[in-house]
Amino acid sequence: MRVSVFLCKRASLNWPPCVGLEIHAQICSRDKIFSTGPVGSHDPSPNSSLSLFDVAIPGTMPVINKDCVKAGVLTALALRSRINSRSYFDRKHYFYPDLPGGYQISQNRVPLAVGGYLSVYNNNNQLINVSIKQVQLEQDSGKIVFGEKTIEGHDTLLDYKRAGVGLMEIVTDPVLIDGSSAANFIRELRLLLKRIGTCDGNMADGSLRVDANVSVRETGSDGMGTRTEIKNISGIKFLKKAIDYEIWRHIQVLSKGGVVLPETMRYDERKNVTTPTRGKSSHQDYRFIEEHDLPALLIEREGLVDECRKILEEIPTDNVVESLSLKYGISLYDAQVLESEDWAIDLFEEVMTQCPQLPVKLVISWITSELYGLINDRDGMNVCVGNFMSLLILFNQNELTGPQAKKILRLMVKGDSRSPIDILHDIQTAHYSHTDIVDICETILTEHKEEVSEYISGNDRRRKLLFGFFMGEAMSLTGRDCDPKEIKGILLELLNNKM
C-alpha cells in the first residue's frame, strides 16, 4: 500500500492532523542516573559493568547523579523551558522483563522543566516555534534480545547493561502537522543536543529514540481526535514516512465513518505500514507512586541554573538551518540538505572556517552531491577533514580536473588516508593494463551521459570536439604513461557500441 502525498495533503484540509513527539535522549554522562554503574563502558559483553541497583538487588537505593541533572537543566534551558525549582521523582509500574525493579523511576507529578520551544522550518520554509510541553528525567530500561535458541535453549535473552542509564524525556505539544515537520524538528533537536553535549544523538544505536502521537480532527470540531502512538521508529526518514502513513490511515478510517482505536502502533519499514502492537496498550495503568527513596530535586539550591546559563552563552542554540543560511549566504534548501546528515554540518563549517577562500557553492556541492553519494549511512563519514580540504583547494586552483578529484575522493572514502597529492601522483604514474583503461573509459562515459548522447546525435564537427573532451578526461585520469592510441581505440569502440 503506498501513500499518495497529494491525496494526503488534500484530505488533511478536512482532517487537520496533530502530531506530538516524545523523545527519549540518553544522557552523555560517565555514570548512570541513579547508580555508579558506568555508562557506555568499553566492555561489549552483555550484562557487564552493572551496579547492584541497576538490577534491583533488594535493599539498594537510588542516588541521583548530579551530572545527569546538569544535562537535563542544560537541555531544558537550551529549549527555553522553565526549570521547576522543585521537581519530584515517581515510580511508573509495569511488568516487563527489561525492567529489573518492576517500575521505572520517572517524573510524573512535577517534571524538571515545563514549556519552551524549538524553532523549526516547516514545508513552506517558514520558521515556526514548536512548543515543548515538558522535559523530565528518568531511567532507561534494559534490552530484550529475541533470538535463536542459543544459550541453554533459551530464546529470550536479557541484557541489563543499558538499565539505569539517564534519559531525558522531551515531550512536544501536538502542534506538528506532518511527517516532514516532525523530521525537521528531530534534526534540529539532535543537532542542538549534540552541540550542548547532553546526548550523542545517535539514532542508530538508540541514544535518541522517538515516539510519535498522531491524531486528526474534523475541521470545525473542537476536540482532538483519538490518538495513536507509534513507538520505536528507527531513524528520521522512517519517522517521516510512519507519521505520514498514520495520518493517512486515520483519515481513511474516519472519512469512511470508522473509529480510530487508541492503540500503540509499530511501523513496518519494508511495507511502509503501521500495525497495532500486542503487549503494552496505550491505556495501561502505571499505578504511579512517589519515589520516597529520592528527596525532591531542588535546582536553585545547586546554583545549577546560573552555571548552565553561562555554558549556553558560549554555544549557539538558534535554529541551525536559519543560522547556516544567514551566516554563509546559502539557500534554506542547501542548509536543510546539509542538516540531513549527521556529520555534514560539522564538516561544512570546518572547511568554511579553515579555507575561507573556497566558494561556498563549491563546498556545498562537494559535500552534498559527491560525498553524500559515496557514503552510506552505516559506516558514516570516515574521510580525513584535512585531506578533504586540500582536495577542494587543489580542485579550486585547477590543479586537479573534476574526474581526477572525484576519483581521489572515491579512494579516500574507501579508506585511502594519503594526501590528495600523493594519490594523484600514484594515479599519474601507475601503469594501466588494457582492462584498466577500458574501465576508466567506461566510467568517463557513464559520468557524462549528456555529452555521450550529444556525440551520438551530433555532426562530425561536434563529434570531433566531444571526442577530444573524452580523450582529455581519460588522459588526465590515466597519466602520461598510457599510449594515447590505445585510449583512442578503446573510446572509439565504446562509443561505436552505443550508436
Partner: protein, 486 residues
C-alpha cells in the same frame, strides 16, 4: 554498657551462645553465624587486653533481622522467595556495628517481608514468646505470640541470646514485639539511620530499629548506626552528637513538658496497660515535669491510613520479586512457557498468603479504580503529621517536648486469637504505633513492670523529630525509677 574485664567478653559470648542453643525451640534465628562471631569476639578481647577497645560495643554480640542484607550470609526476609538469597553487600547499619567491633551471631526470624504483627507469617515458622522458655510458665504462655514483625530479634534480646539486636519498624514492628517480650525497642526518626541494605516494606515508613535490654545500650547502638550515608539519599546530613546522655539535675527536668494524648485513652486499652501509662505520667510529674493532656485530633485515622499507604508502597516494593534476576526460580518444579507465566509462577509459589494479600490490596489502591483511597490516605497522613507538629511547636499555644502513650492495647494475644483475625483487623494491634511512623517521629518502647502471667508491660515515649537525645533521657529516667520501684 559497663566495662567488662578482658576475659568476660569471651565468657559472656559463650553464655549467650549456650542460651541460643538451649532455646532453639523459640525459633528466633533463621541463620546462625556463631563461628565468625567467635573469631570477632576473640579479636575484640585482644584489643581489650591491649587496652585499646574500639568503643562501648567492641566484642558485644548482636542479632540482625533477616531483612537487613549481610554479605555472604543468607538474607531471606523469612520468605521462600529469598530462601537462597545471599546478598553481595552489607547493610550500612550492620556494617557500622561490625566496624565498632560488635559480632553478629545470626539472622533473626520475622514475619515474611516484615508484613505482620505477631510473627506468624514466616516461611520458617512462628517465633515463640519468651515465656515459653521457662518451664514454670503456664501452659497458655506456649501459645502467646512474640509480636512482630521483628519477633526473632525481640526474643533473642529478651532471652539473653545476644547483647542487642537490629530490627525494622514500619508500623511498630520493633516497639510491639519489644513490649510483648519485655525489652527496650527503639525506633529512630525517619532519616536518622541509613536504610541502605534494609529490604523495604513501605519505604516512606521503614526505619531500622534497635532492641536492647537497657535504654543506655540502645542509645550506644543508635550512636553507632546513626548518620548520613551516601547510599541512602533520605539519610540526614546533620552534625551528630551522642544521644547517650542523662539529665544533669532536677532543675533541667522541671523544664520538660510531657503530653498525654487523650485520644489514646480508647476503650480497647486493657486496664493494666492504662494503669502503667498513668503510673509513668504521675512519676514524671512527681519529678517536677509539667504533665498535661494534649490532643491529636486525627489519631483515629492512623490505622486505616497506614493500611492503605503501607499496602500501596509494599505493592511497589514487591514488584521486583519476579525471579528474573534473583530469588525463587519455579522452572525446576514447573515449566513456564512464557516470561509472564514464569513471573506468575515465581510469585505464586515463592510468596506467602499475607504478602500476596498486601500486594493485591496495594495494587488496587494505586490503580485507577482504587486510587481515591490512596489519595485520601495521603491527606489523612498529612493531617496526622500536622497534629504532632502542632503539639510539638515551640511557638504554638500549648507546646510539649515529649509524648507518653501506651505501646499495645493489652498483653500479647494468643496464636489462635491472631489467626482468627483477618490481615486487616490485625493492624489494630499497632494502634499506638503507626501514627509515629506516618509522622516519621522517633519513639521508644520502655518496659515498666510485669503484669498478669508475668507478662511485660511497657510505655511509649515519643519525641520531636531528631530529638532522640531528650527521648532517651526520659526513657532512662523512667527505667531507673521503675527499677527502684520494682
Amino acid at each position: 554498657m559497663a566495662a567488662k574485664g578482658a576475659n568476660s567478653l569471651l565468657q559472656s559470648f559463650q553464655s549467650k551462645i549456650s542460651s541460643m542453643k538451649n532455646l532453639s525451640h523459640l525459633n528466633a534465628f533463621i541463620t546462625e553465624t556463631i563461628k565468625i562471631a567467635e573469631s570477632q569476639v576473640m579479636e575484640a578481647q585482644k584489643r581489650n587486653e591491649d587496652g585499646a577497645p574500639l568503643g562501648p560495643l567492641d566484642g558485644h554480640t548482636f542479632a540482625v533481622k533477616d531483612n537487613l542484607c549481610t554479605a555472604n550470609t543468607l538474607t531471606t526476609c523469612a520468605s521462600r522467595f529469598l530462601s537462597s538469597f545471599t546478598p553481595p553487600y552489607t547493610a550500612t547499619a550492620v556494617q557500622r556495628l561490625l566496624s565498632s567491633g560488635a559480632a553478629m551471631i545470626g539472622k533473626t526470624n520475622m514475619d515474611e517481608f516484615a508484613m505482620g504483627s505477631s510473627n506468624l507469617s514466616s516461611y520458617y515458622g512462628a517465633v515463640e514468646h519468651p515465656n515459653s522458655a521457662s518451664p514454670s510458665s503456664s501452659s497458655s504462655a506456649h501459645n502467646l505470640v512474640s509480636g512482630g514483625s521483628s519477633g526473632g530479634s525481640a526474643v533473642a534480646v529478651a532471652t539473653g541470646m545476644c547483647d542487642f539486636a537490629l530490627g525494622s519498624d514500619t508500623g511498630g514492628s520493633v516497639r510491639l514485639p519489644a513490649s510483648f517480650c519485655g525489652t527496650v525497642g527503639l525506633k529512630p526518626t525517619y532519616g536518622r539511620v541509613s536504610r541502605h541494605g534494609l529490604i523495604p516494606l513501605a519505604n516512606s515508613l521503614d526505619t531500622v530499629g534497635i532492641f536492647a535490654p537497657t535504654v543506655s545500650t540502645a542509645a550506644n547502638v543508635l550512636d553507632a548506626v546513626s548518620g548520613w550515608d551516601r547510599c541512602d539519599s533520605t539519610s540526614v546530613r546533620r552534625e551528630y552528637c551522642s544521644v547517650n546522655d542523662e539529665f544533669a539535675g532536677n532543675e533541667e527536668m522541671t523544664t520538660v513538658r510531657v503530653g498525654i494524648p487523650k485520644e489514646c485513652d480508647i476503650k480497647e486499652l486493657s486496664p493494666e496497660n492504662r494503669t502503667v501509662w498513668r503510673l509513668v505520667a504521675d512519676e514524671l510529674e512527681s519529678l517536677g515535669m509539667i504533665v498535661k493532656d494534649v490532643s491529636l485530633p486525627h489519631f483515629s485515622y492512623s490505622v486505616p491510613c497506614y493500611t492503605v499507604i503501607c499496602s500501596a508502597e509494599a505493592s511497589s516494593n514487591m514488584a521486583k520479586y519476579t525471579g528474573a534476576i534473583f530469588g525463587y526460580d519455579c522452572s525446576k518444579a514447573h515449566s513456564p512457557s512464557t516470561v509472564d507465566e514464569m513471573f506468575a509462577y515465581n510469585r505464586q509459589f515463592g510468596l506467602g498468603p499475607v504478602v500476596k494479600h498486601r500486594i493485591i490490596a496495594g495494587t488496587y489502591f494505586l490503580s485507577y479504580h482504587g486510587r481515591h483511597h490512596y489519595e485520601q490516605a495521603l491527606k489523612a497522613r498529612s493531617l496526622i503529621k500536622n497534629d504532632y507538629q502542632t503539639v510539638f511547636d515551640k511557638d504554638g499555644p500549648d507546646p510539649v517536648d515529649i509524648l507518653i502513650t501506651p505501646v499495645s492495647l493489652g498483653p500479647p494475644p494468643t496464636r489462635s486469637t491472631m489467626e482468627e483475625l483477618g490481615p486487616v483487623e490485625a493492624y489494630v494491634l499497632n494502634t499506638f504505633l503507626v501514627p509515629v511512623n506516618l509522622a516519621g517521629l522517633p519513639a521508644i518502647s520502655v518496659p515498666i513492670t510485669r503484669g498478669e502471667g508475668e507478662l511485660p508491660l511497657s510505655v511509649q515515649v515519643i519525641s520531636k523529630w531528631f530529638d532522640e537525645g531528650l527521648m532517651i533521657k526520659i526513657a532512662k529516667l523512667i527505667e531507673t525509677f521503675m527499677r527502684n520501684k520494682n
